[in-house]
Structure formats: structure tokens, C-alpha cells
């Protein structure tokens, strides 16, 4: 279980209220370490679990080393504001709509048929009528 984590290019990003770093993972002899494992390791290193986000892990040629990015936010509110939604969804902090695009377009078209000429432009994407 020789997993070594090293952080490079550490920066405190005051604008986005987080600390960001490049994480170098050494795992000689093993396959690429999954993201969740690295997340757990960071969580036990820094004691706070829910404001840590890791992403973008790429393995180097020949195996044994992986590089990725890690961010630790100041608080959960800032994390929710600043993070892109799919990353939040990975940590189940965000649920996206389950309706498919085709369905939505169909509904919109049907609503538009009820109007004539320029009134069609007034039909919004939301649920009207």
C-alpha cells in the first residue's frame, strides 16, 4: 500500500476562496488509483471532508505516477457558488434535472403551436399555462 501523495504549485486563491494545488501520486506497481481513494486520503490528512474536491487525474506513460488537481474551499457555501455543477454532483451536493433535451424541445414546440406569428416569441422555456 505504497501510496504517496505530493503537492506541487500550491497557491491560495483569494478570489475564489480556496487553496489549490497540483497533486502528484506515486503508486509503483499498482494500477491508477481511483479518485475516491485519493479523496479519502486527503480528507484524513486535512480532517475536513466535504470541501475537498479532486479532479483531472492523468497517469504518466509507463505507470506508477499520476498527476491531478486538488482544491480545498474555505467553506461549503463558497464551494457551492464557485464550483461547476458536475463536480458538485459527484459529491452529491447537486441534483440536475432528469428531463431529456428531446422531451423539453417537444414540450416547447407544442406550446408554440397555440400562438400565431409574433406571439410565438413570447413563449418561454418555463412551464407556462
Amino acid at each position: 500500500m505504497t501510496l504517496t501523495l505530493r503537492s506541487k504549485k500550491f497557491m491560495t486563491n483569494r478570489l475564489l476562496r480556496r487553496k489549490q494545488r497540483v497533486i502528484d501520486v506515486h503508486h509503483p506497481g499498482k494500477a491508477t488509483v481511483p479518485k475516491s481513494e485519493i479523496w479519502e486520503k486527503l480528507a484524513e490528512m486535512y480532517k475536513i471532508a466535504d470541501v475537498i474536491f479532486v479532479f483531472g487525474f492523468r497517469a504518466h506513460f509507463g505507470g506508477g505516477q499520476t498527476t491531478g488537481f486538488g482544491m480545498i474551499y474555505d467553506s461549503l457555501d463558497y464551494a457551492k457558488k464557485n464550483k461547476p455543477k458536475h463536480r458538485l454532483a459527484r459529491h452529491s451536493l447537486y441534483e440536475k434535472k432528469k428531463t431529456s433535451r428531446k422531451q423539453r424541445k417537444e414540450e416547447y414546440k407544442n406550446r408554440m403551436t397555440q400562438f400565431r406569428r409574433t406571439a410565438k416569441a413570447s413563449v418561454g422555456p418555463g412551464k407556462k399555462k
Partner: protein, 317 residues
């Protein structure tokens, strides 16, 4: 009352003291004679210095004053007085400081003084004398626009008067009038340029370099520098990695990029580079074959301009 040992020391000292005083007297007489001769010459106007360099004049005067003060001090000391708080000492210190400060100025004027001395000695300088070439900033000014000349004159005058002229009215920026050159690169010229570039590349290829090393007398240099097989692809990769790490994003890799990378890695992993050398046909005049990481030479096709009906899917050429 002194002990007999001390008396012997005193006697020997006395002897050397007497000889020294005699020497001193002789030298003083010689110096006086010289100074008197010099004074007579100066009074007879043998050295006119009105038209000379004022710096040298100042130095002359200062040195004379220094000597006068020094002799005054020696006189006082020789007649038994003390030098404590003597007014001449302060004067001497002052003159010495000024002379030291003048020394760098002297250094800077050395060239001019040498030139003048040479002119005085030889009468006139020869045509090819390098001392004659003085920079002419007026030659660098363009003779085209008269506005620039006027501005320069005005600036010169204001600088001479010693105050910085604040530009009252802001003058409109006039871009420099450059003569436009007609672009006329024909196919033949393009071919020539390409050939020239290929020649340069061939000259720095490994084959020619090894030939050069074989026949030159210079010692063989072993440089432990960058990776010997650094290719364009590896440099691009490095650049990409740096960007990704500093911006904290992952860039997407297009299909072409993937193809290039694969080609580069395949080349490096095979023993291809052992037997395939870079192209020196530009020097030998054969048909060109390609290096690994370069793009294949495409002939320029005339792409007909069609009206695009389907803008969705663009065909990749």
C-alpha cells in the same frame, strides 16, 4: 648622563644626520635654480594658456597653490614651530580634495587631450586617422520631414537655456513616413526560400556534423545539455503540461494531436532512428524525403469556393 651605549648610537646617528643635511642643501639649491628659471620663462610669456583647456589651467593653479602651502608648512616646521591647527593644513586638505575629484574628469577628457597634443605635435592629422571620426547625431536625423527638424531645434534651444520646456500644446502624433514596398513574391522566390531553409537544416543535421568533426582540428566537445532526442513533439508536450498545471484545467486533445503523439512515440520506441538519417538532399541535389516529426509536404490545391449549404459538419481536409 647617558649610558656609554647610547652615546655610541648617538654618534653614528650624528654622522648620517650630517650627510643627510648636506644632501638636502644640495637638492634645495638645485630646485631653487630650476624654479627661478621657470619663473623667468613664465614671466617672459613663453607658455600662453589663454586658448588652452580650462580644466588643465585649473589644475595648474591648484597644484601651484598646493606647493606654496606645502613650502609654507615646511618653513614653519624647520624653524621649530608646530603644525597644530595651522591654517595652511586646512587649505592643503581642501586643495587635495578638489584635485581628487578632478581625477575622473581627467580620465574622461583623456581622449580629447591626446588628440589635441597629437595635433599640436604633428601639425595636422592624416586622412585615415581613427581619432578624427566623431559621432554626428545630425546625420541620424531624417532629412524628410521639416516638422521634426523644427522640434529638435526648439528642444535644443530650451535645453541650452537650462530649463525643461513643458509642451504647452499637445502636438498630434504623426507616424513616420515609411516608403511602402510592393509585395511581389513569385513562385520561384518561394521555391528559392524553401530550398534555402532546407539547406540550412541539412547543414546542421547529424551526418554533416559528424563529417565536420571528423575533418576539423578542433577538440571534441562533449556537452551534457538537454535530452539529445528532443523533438518538437516533446517540447509541445512540455508546454502543454506547464499550461495545464498552472491553469488547473485539463485541455482536450484533438485527433490530429493524438495522431502526432502516437507517431512520435512509435518512432522513439522503435530502432528507427538508428538507420534513418535526416534529409540532406538540399546539399546533394536528390529528391527530398521527410523527417519524422515534420508534416508531409502538401501540394497547394486550388480550393473552389462553394456556397456552403450545410454548415454543420465541416469536412476536414
Amino acid at each position: 648622563m647617558a649610558a656609554p651605549g647610547n652615546l655610541a648610537v648617538l654618534e653614528s646617528d650624528l654622522q648620517s644626520a650630517v650627510t643627510l643635511l648636506k644632501n638636502l642643501q644640495d637638492q634645495v639649491m638645485a630646485v631653487t635654480a630650476q624654479v627661478q628659471a621657470l619663473t623667468k620663462k613664465v614671466q617672459a610669456r613663453a607658455y600662453p594658456t589663454e586658448k588652452g583647456l580650462s580644466l588643465l589651467e585649473v589644475k595648474d593653479q591648484l597644484l601651484l597653490m598646493y606647493l606654496m602651502d606645502l613650502t609654507h608648512l615646511i618653513l614653519d616646521k624647520a624653524s621649530g614651530g608646530s603644525l597644530q591647527g595651522h591654517a595652511a593644513v586646512l587649505r592643503l586638505v581642501e586643495i587635495r580634495t578638489v584635485l581628487e575629484k578632478l581625477r575622473p574628469l581627467d580620465q574622461k577628457l583623456k581622449y580629447q587631450i591626446d588628440k589635441l597634443v597629437k595635433t599640436a605635435v604633428t601639425g595636422s592629422l592624416s586622412e585615415n586617422d581613427p581619432l578624427r571620426f566623431k559621432p554626428h547625431p545630425s546625420n541620424m536625423m531624417s532629412k524628410l520631414s521639416s516638422e521634426d527638424e523644427e522640434e529638435d531645434e526648439a528642444e535644443g534651444q530650451s535645453e541650452a537655456s537650462g530649463k525643461k520646456s513643458v509642451k504647452g500644446t499637445v502636438k498630434k502624433y504623426v507616424p513616420p513616413r515609411l516608403v511602402p514596398v510592393h509585395y511581389d513574391e513569385t513562385e520561384a522566390e518561394r521555391e528559392k526560400k524553401r530550398l534555402e531553409r532546407a539547406r540550412k537544416r541539412a547543414l546542421s543535421s547529424s551526418v554533416i556534423r559528424e563529417l565536420k568533426e571528423q575533418y576539423s582540428d578542433a577538440p571534441e566537445e562533449i556537452r551534457d545539455a538537454r535530452h539529445p532526442h528532443v523533438t518538437r513533439q516533446s517540447q509541445e508536450d512540455q508546454h502543454r503540461i506547464n499550461y495545464e498545471e498552472s491553469m488547473m484545467v485539463r485541455l482536450s486533445v484533438s485527433k490530429r494531436e493524438k495522431g502526432r503523439r502516437k507517431r512520435a512515440s512509435v518512432m522513439n520506441s522503435q530502432l528507427h532512428s538508428l538507420t534513418h538519417f535526416s534529409d540532406i538532399s538540399a546539399l546533394t541535389g536528390g529528391t527530398p524525403h521527410l523527417d519524422e516529426d515534420q508534416n508531409p509536404i502538401k501540394k497547394r490545391k486550388k480550393i473552389p469556393k462553394k456556397s456552403r449549404k450545410k454548415t454543420g459538419f465541416r469536412r476536414r481536409r
